[in-house]
């Protein structure tokens, strides 16, 4: 066990965990933010996607000891204009079915629009293919990302 200070969504959290504890479980079990989901534990499904210093990261496979002073953003702390546009588009297209993967999908989609305000289908495929949706809501994810991009043009 070791003490760590995690900066999550602008707030500092002191936790005492095994250094190998994945960031995902520190966020969920120690900090108590549960919007970030566990789906595979091996960086295959993207349900645990968070930002570390603005970069999308699979939190299930990043040990707490490697986070250091980096700023972590979870779905609860998502406030960028891209994120707001994505979440609005998600609701407008009724993207979610079971919804369990969608925190990760929204995180990845908002990050994409931050880097690329007008993504093509191919750009979307590249940016989003690390996020599995077992309900296969992919048609609507694609449509919603295009809608969100359009709404940001104005």
């Amino acid at each position: 066990m070791a003490a760590f200070t995690l900066k999550i969504n602008g707030r500092e959290h002191q936790i005492d965990v095994d250094p190998g504890t994945p960031l995902l479980w520190a966020i969920r079990d120690n900090v108590g933010l549960t919007g970030t989901k566990y789906g595979c534990g091996v960086a295959q499904c993207g349900a645990c996607t968070v930002y570390v210093d603005g970069q999308t990261v699979r939190s299930c496979s990043l040990p707490v000891s490697a986070v250091g002073k980096s700023e972590v953003t979870t779905i609860e702390g998502l406030t960028s204009k891209e994120a707001v546009a994505v979440q609005k588009a998600w609701a407008a297209h009724d993207v979610p079915q079971c919804g369990y993967c969608q925190s990760g999908q929204v995180m990845s989609a908002a990050a994409l629009l931050g880097l690329n305000p007008k993504p093509t289908d191919q750009d979307i495929d590249l940016a989003m293919n690390g996020n599995i949706c077992r309900c296969a809501t992919y048609v609507r994810i694609r449509a919603a990302i295009h809608s969100a991009a359009k709404s940001l043009e104005g």
């Binding site: 504890t21 079990d29 989901k37 595979c40 919804g99 293919n129 077992r134 309900c135 296969a136 992919y138």
Partner: protein, 727 residues
């Protein structure tokens, strides 16, 4: 049903029954909430003036919360039930909310099952009239209350978009009149609208899903998110082989892991209790367990395939026979024989299996995504030795199921209660299965084989024989009596015994075999394999007969108007006859009815370096009255993607009885870059509504196979198409 799933008639809920109205409708029964926060938002939770009935709660703030007797894990029952209620209540869509009803088999039974449960694409099908009556009765009671309050005749009162009005200028929302409405008698047979007056049912854009926002911002709560104070996370080390038992174990190293609270032997293995997931998982890996495999299944899938093949050479137990297949084969003609092999499949919902319970000694309270609350509820009570009235079970959102959470064996409920019992009362426990636990934990779509034989003579299919080898899903379950005929499990042959084509000589027979691998219904159940076998084979026979896949099918469907209807609709949508395809592309078609919903699909694909690339899918669906058109489209889209991922990549092979695939690296899932474009047509219908959760799945696989045949490739006879591919 046996005693094991006897309805919990004595729960706190049903005892409070105050008023009863007509058949299938129990309105105005007070629902005790036993401290469980029931509402999705704070405003409604604070309301004191709730309309106390079984299926809806009207808040002072005018919100109408529908208590949904079906679990919401993506297929849309929250929105569907609320649509039915709001339609007859003349509510405004913005005031509608939904939450899960608690476990109570009397109040909340599935009218098709007789117990509370979700499955078989039955939510809308069994609730269509019931929930409309709830809305209509509540409307009548509100109107009666307004008439009383305003001293005007009820006939002069109108309700529109949640506002109750009288020509005198008096008007009110629902909330202000809810308490008074409760004093009114519930109408025995409330008048339902004529469909021509519908404002929400079947109307494009009239409703949006009630759960989209919470599922897009991380606030939707699933079982994994439960964090009641003092909750321990429990992981169980289970046998790597099905049927294996713990012979001995050494927990010394595991116990030393910081955060581990206790380690106990439980019927399924060894349970690790810890403060959080990571210490539990770390400790579980340090357990030293010797397994007793003397009663375990030790065959691998290669061996099973050999055994299944050998059986298929002989006729099995007769399921259906018309004419004389053998005599027709003996007469000559073009005999075509094909064997189709279907692997074990995991459901792999995004949220792996989990469940929560707080056993307090005299009472217990469980919360999780229970798909069959009635048998689960009874199982928990039995393990804890409690009267069922002392046990609460609340269903909450679940991250997908595809059949996985509908457990006739109640194995998760049993394990949950067993781990609670092992550590003793007063410790809330959250049982968590890892992805690997879920993938290797059994309850798969059964491994199945079809040996098909057909005779084509003079351009016609004159004989058809289908010998199926497979495991029973229902044998030994509480549903055995309901679903098995002459000892044969209908879920093993459904779709193969009643093909939509007129063939004069027909036989379907089944070798029902016992394998020690637990199996379960998997999104569209028997149709996952029978749909493929029938539709790929009929296409092969039509090809031999020199007939067009659409015209040839239609010619044999004279007495199947709804099959023919969706087939014609999809052919039109895809411009089957006229479309000019890019070089290297081809199209295939298939039509399958499942759960009384008819779906036809046309697939357009080309061959990539590694296998088929599906570019577009056209889909026509006839599900009777289309209650929520956009949810129907969503289910077709999702069903298509789910089916495509599995026919391309998915299988759970067993080696010496041990499941091999453990995660999405070895059990590859469809990703967004592989998702085709999809166009859906809903065939207008006035038939009773049927479900859409499953029926989008079966036609996709055979349509892919049939498109591959158009490119001169063999139709895949052993799934998945790309077995070596991992992520």
């Amino acid at each position: 049903m046996n005693a094991h799933v006897k309805p919990a008639a004595s729960t706190a809920l049903s005892r409070r029954s105050l008023l009863k109205a007509g058949a299938g409708l129990v309105l105005a029964t007070y629902v005790a909430r036993n401290g469980v926060a029931y509402a999705q938002d704070g405003a409604a939770a604070k309301s004191v003036n709730i309309a106390p009935n079984t299926f809806l709660v009207i808040g002072q703030d005018d919100t109408v919360t529908v208590l949904c007797k079906h679990i919401e894990f993506g297929q849309g029952p929250f929105t569907g039930m609320a649509t039915l209620v709001a339609e007859e209540l003349d509510a405004d869509w913005t005031q509608m909310r939904a939450d899960h009803a608690p476990s109570n088999p009397v109040l909340y039974k599935n009218l098709l099952f007789g117990v509370q449960g979700t499955g078989g694409s039955s939510a809308i099908a069994n609730s269509y009239e019931q929930m409309r009556k709830v809305g209509a009765a509540a409307r009548a009671m509100l109107v009666a209350a307004a008439a009383d309050e305003w001293k005007v005749p009820a006939e002069e009162i109108t309700v529109e978009k949640g506002i109750i009005k009288h020509a005198s200028g008096k008007q009110s929302g629902f909330g202000a009149l809810a308490a008074k409405a409760m004093q009114q008698p519930a109408p025995a047979n409330p008048q339902l609208k004529d469909p021509s007056a519908f404002k929400l049912i079947g109307k494009e854009g009239a409703v949006t899903r009630l759960d989209s926002v919470a599922k897009s911002n991380g606030t939707a709560e699933y079982t994994l998110d439960i964090k009641d104070p003092g909750t321990l996370t429990v992981l169980v080390a289970r046998s790597p082989r099905f049927g294996g038992k713990v012979a001995s174990f050494d927990a010394a190293a595991a116990k030393a892991v910081p955060g581990v609270v206790d380690i106990k032997k439980v019927p399924n293995g060894v349970a690790v209790y810890a403060d959080g997931f990571w210490p539990a998982k770390t400790a579980r890996e340090l357990l030293k367990i010797t397994w007793d495999d003397s009663k375990a299944e030790t065959r691998g899938t290669a061996q099973l395939l050999e055994e299944f093949r050998a059986r298929a050479k002989k006729q099995g137990a007769l399921v259906k026979q018309e004419g004389d297949v053998d005599a027709e084969i003996a007469k000559g003609g073009k005999l075509i024989e094909t064997e189709f092999v279907f692997p074990y499949l995991a459901h792999a919902p995004m949220e792996p299996i989990n469940a929560f319970i707080h056993w307090k000694g005299e009472t217990a309270s469980a919360r999780y995504g229970s798909q069959f609350p009635t048998p689960d509820h009874a199982a928990i009570a039995q393990v804890l030795g409690l009267d069922i009235a002392k046990v609460e079970l609340k269903t909450i959102l679940a991250g997908g199921s595809f059949g996985r959470r509908a457990q006739q064996s109640t194995h998760v409920a049993l394990e949950l209660a067993q781990v609670a019992k092992a550590i003793g009362p007063g410790r809330p426990v959250k049982l968590v299965w890892t992805r690997e636990d879920d993938m290797r934990g059994g309850y798969y779509r059964p491994f199945s084989l079809h040996r098909m034989r057909g005779v084509v003579r003079d351009g016609k299919i004159v004989a058809w024989s289908d010998t199926i080898v497979g495991q029973s899903i229902m044998k030994g379950s509480p549903f055995e009596a309901m679903t098995m005929k002459n000892g044969l499990d209908s879920t093993a042959y459904e779709g193969s015994n009643e093909i939509p084509y007129q063939v004069p000589n027909f036989r379907c027979d089944l070798h029902q075999v016992d394998v020690g691998v637990p199996v379960l219904w998997w999104r569209s159940v028997g149709h996952t394999h029978t749909g493929y076998a029938v539709e790929a084979f009929v296409d092969q026979l039509l090809e031999a007969a020199g007939q067009d896949p659409v015209e040839g099918r239609l010619a044999m469907m004279a007495d199947k108007p709804r099959h023919a209807g969706v087939l014609k609709a999809v052919a039109q949508l895809a411009d089957w006859k006229g479309a000019k395809l890019e070089a290297g592309r081809a199209r295939g078609v298939a039509v399958v009815e499942s759960f009384n919903t008819y779906v036809a699909q046309v697939v357009e694909l080309s061959m990539g370096q590694e296998g088929p690339v599906v570019h577009k899918v056209w889909c026509a669906v006839d599900c009777g009255v289309a209650v929520n058109p956009d949810i129907i489209r969503a289910q077709m889209e999702g069903g298509i993607g789910f089916a495509l991922g599995h026919i391309l990549y998915a299988q759970q092979p067993l080696e010496e009885g041990r499941p091999v695939a453990g995660n999405f690296d070895s059990y590859r899932s469809l990703r967004i870059n592989e998702m085709p474009q999809i166009e859906v047509a809903i065939v207008p219908s006035t038939e009773k509504p049927t479900g859409v959760g499953e029926p989008g799945v079966p036609p996709l696989g055979p349509a892919v196979a049939n498109a591959m045949a158009k490119l001169g490739l063999p139709r895949p006879t052993q799934l998945p198409i790309r077995p070596g591919d991992t992520a």
